[in-house]
Symmetry: C2
Subunit: 224 residues, 2 copies
Amino acid sequence: MKELAIALVSGGMDSCVSAAIAKQNYELAFLHVNYGQRTEIRELQAFNDIADYYDVKKRLVVSIEYLKSIGGSSLTDDNIPVSIADLNSKNIPTSYVPFRNTHLLAIAVSWAEVIGAVKIFIGAVEEDSSGYPDCRKEYYHAFNKLIEVGTKPETHIEVVTPLIDMKKHEIVKKGIELNAPLHLTWSCYKNNDVACGVCDSCALRLRGFKNAGVKDPIKYAITI
Amino acid sequence: MKELAIALVSGGMDSCVSAAIAKQNYELAFLHVNYGQRTEIRELQAFNDIADYYDVKKRLVVSIEYLKSIGGSSLTDDNIPVSIADLNSKNIPTSYVPFRNTHLLAIAVSWAEVIGAVKIFIGAVEEDSSGYPDCRKEYYHAFNKLIEVGTKPETHIEVVTPLIDMKKHEIVKKGIELNAPLHLTWSCYKNNDVACGVCDSCALRLRGFKNAGVKDPIKYAITI
């Protein structure tokens, strides 16, 4: 029998491909975290569509909408506009939610300790990312150290980041290779119906498909 | 003007004394996290009483009741009984909430980054504790490393554990020395009206007062 792994599935393309990689060697449990972002309704639908595709029975959906009351990000604070993508900028974009991945991983570890999962797959991408501090390899090294010292002695849980060194076009190719349901994913930070095509996330995704030489199966309002 | 520090205040004695120590050098912001524990109503009252005592304006109360849906602890899962204290046991008690402090600290760090706080005070106790893995010094070292790599380059936030090496009776004495409002605190894991006197938390507290040679100002149903 395969060991159990938790896949963090936002509903976006990266987490879908990350889950597809996990699927090769583990039984899957899917975790989705709603942190009060603008596009949560659409992302939750994508989460369930992807879970259905892989026939995942163990699903946990957790709300950490309290991040809204903390603020500081355009994703959760309606007073901060979602910035138009500038993929050459070295600045951390307004969509940055301070320390967000720590909240997500803490939930995953607590759940893993209870259900006996040994791995946590997260679709974080360092190289081709938006420059969020908590998407870097050294962050995940530090987090794995934290798990080691912060859980029961008999517990061995590891966060795995299979995409961390990939470029977006490599993620697209990997997804197609593994027959991941990219057509069911949702990446847009701004809209719930038709992807905007101009936010950071849309722009990165579109560039990835373009560089992979593949047509993105979802529809866009505008493509820049 | 004093720099800002966040004090994690559960409403219990340890976090109250930790906040009293923070108060000596910092302007205070108080954070309380409701994780669906049995005694939350009483703890929240204690939190607000202590905040009023110190005239703290910046207060954040966050619910992470999703821990209930994860389960695994007698504090949040009604199907697991709260164990009677065995202070000589080396086992992790049933009240252990897997990886709980990581959830609390993640919230504190996100808030600190937004409001510009430089320290986070938490009343964790290693030596005289119940043996929770996330109350040990090495856990906090690992967490501070995580903050360093997981936040913006210009952000410098540090978790401070002023009680980590203290015995319970030393915490009692420290609290009295600093005029901390111990009479407003609540430690019982089981009851919301009169402290039970027999759960892990009551037993540790009572032993602390006894060893300090001071009478606990709160009332108990039974004392063993």
